[in-house]
């Protein structure tokens, strides 16, 4: 079966985020960018399904500026077979991303679509669910285990208070949580090979989707910083402070 994986280019998770002095956003100039960590887990899961003989082809798609092709090439080096780049310099919000991905789903007809549960920049946690709703598919969000069984997929989900397993008819959408797998690193030979794998570029207009954001960001500020308190000498002083000064016990 064919698996479609969506990946997003975001600020590298090790980079310290700085808000721009004019409060219009976060400073991304000359900042290291990388594949969103949850998307790496999505790619890894697809590659493992292929290694198990469950998936036959992995198509990776990314939306954004030209530079997104770096992340598509990374996914190809990790084991995806071909790439689709939906190129736009506009800000693409979750609902539009879902509409663009829906158009790709209609063209490619994958049995399974795997996405990260959220991107570490906008932290929305929406696109996979919106795609599932728009395409009339079931969804297994925040997955910690994915087992394909005939025309169904069983997804174990990380939910408040524990785990929950659902069975979904295929095709279905899965979004990844942290413990689903540990992504591998791409080997140098695979990075070289990935350069020759096919990568199609298209525009949102080619897919018949108009980019029209519904949300506008009025300002972005740094969070209020918390002041460091005091160091206590020992446990007795700590308990005394908690009881008599902070009055929280």
């Amino acid at each position: 079966m064919k698996v479609l994986v969506a990946v997003k280019r975001v600020i590298d998770y090790n980079v310290k985020v700085r808000v721009k002095p004019d409060n219009t956003g976060v400073d991304l100039a000359n900042v290291k960018m990388a594949m969103n960590p949850f998307c790496e887990i999505a790619v890894e899961e697809a590659v493992r399904l292929k290694e198990k003989g469950v998936a036959s082809e992995i198509v990776v798609v990314s939306i954004g500026p030209k530079a997104c092709q770096e992340q598509i090439r990374t996914a190809l080096a990790l084991g995806a077979d071909r790439g689709i780049h939906i190129e736009t310099d506009e800000e693409v919000q979750s609902l539009e991303a879902a509409k663009l991905l829906k158009a790709v789903v209609e063209k490619e007809e994958p049995k399974l679509v795997i996405l990260g549960k959220q991107s570490i920049d906008s932290d929305n946690n929406q696109t996979g669910q919106m795609l599932a709703a728009l395409t009339g598919m079931g969804q297994g969000t925040f997955a910690s285990e994915v087992v394909v069984d005939g025309e169904k997929v069983n997804v174990t989900r990380e939910v408040d208070g524990g785990l929950m397993t659902v069975a979904l008819n295929l095709p279905a959408v899965v979004t990844t949580d942290l413990r689903l797998n540990e992504p591998r690193y791409a080997s140098l030979p695979n990075i070289m090979k990935a350069k020759k794998k096919p990568l199609d570029a298209m525009s949102p207009a080619d897919l018949g989707v108009e980019i029209a954001p519904r949300l506008s960001t009025l300002k972005v500020e740094a969070p209020a910083s918390r002041q460091a308190g005091i160091k206590v000498a020992d446990v007795a002083e700590l308990v005394d402070k908690l009881k008599n000064e902070a009055k929280v016990i």
């Binding site: 932290d123 919106m130 728009l134 969000t141 949300l215 969070p223 929280v248």
Partner: protein, 313 residues
Amino acid sequence: MSILVIAEHDNSSLKQATLNVVAAAKAIGGDIDVLVAGENVGAIAEAAAKAEGVNKVLVADNAAYGHFLAENLGELVAEVGKGYSHILTSAGTTGKDFMPRVAALLDVAQVSDIIRVESADTFVRPIYAGNAIATVKASDSIKVITVRPTGFDPVAAEGGSASVEQLDVVKDAGLSSFVGEEKAKSDRPDLASAGIVISGGRGMQNGENFKMLEQVADLMGAAMGASRAAVDAGFVPNDMQVGQTGKIVAPQLYVAIGISGAIQHLAGMSDSKVIVAINKDEEAPIFQVADYGLVADLFEAVPQFEEELKKVL
């Protein structure tokens, strides 16, 4: 304006987060209706009707909603919610699961995880794991919103007298089914709403050592948490994780033991009223947010902490 709040519950009791979401709805202003969808939820509907500020409780009681499957809830909420100006629910794992489906079915954007209401169309939410705070304006006619419960003080659970109305809407999308669940069994308070939280980090060294913290937690009536490092190391299950990728907590007292204080952890607990850190590394970043810091070996300090607490509690 009219606001629909989707109640969070587990088919046995109303979750406190629902009261926080009603508080967010009050901050927007307008008539507030609460939708209780689930199976055998009569008592929950009655509890919701008593919450302060609720106008009407709508009940969708059907096996199709018993396990909160997003495909079914999404269709239900999109249909019931289309006459409202705002649809709100808690940003717990259930709300995060079904709410974007509602937004997509209504062809509107969703504003996720708000922590403040500026006006009826403008909301404040953290981005970049809480390293930046964005003020966002929504232009759609229906605003679909998930609310971070710790951002709003809950309304009173008692005192209201809303009417209760049964809905006759059954949406079974037939796309998904419930297979099973493994709930962590605990007599301790729920992590997300506990007044005191005790969390352990990589410094705990293994899962066995968390028993030490459990004893202290039981003494204080605290919930147990953990850093992502402790979860990734396999010491404890993921539902204990506090941080941007886990639970966001804001208790009266947060005790961080053997936690260095990575940014992603701080994003999940730095709104706590009082923070205590015990760590042997005096340079650990957790001390920069702690009200009371103790530089000590936790394997000595935690048993002492338990003894000292026994004297005063």
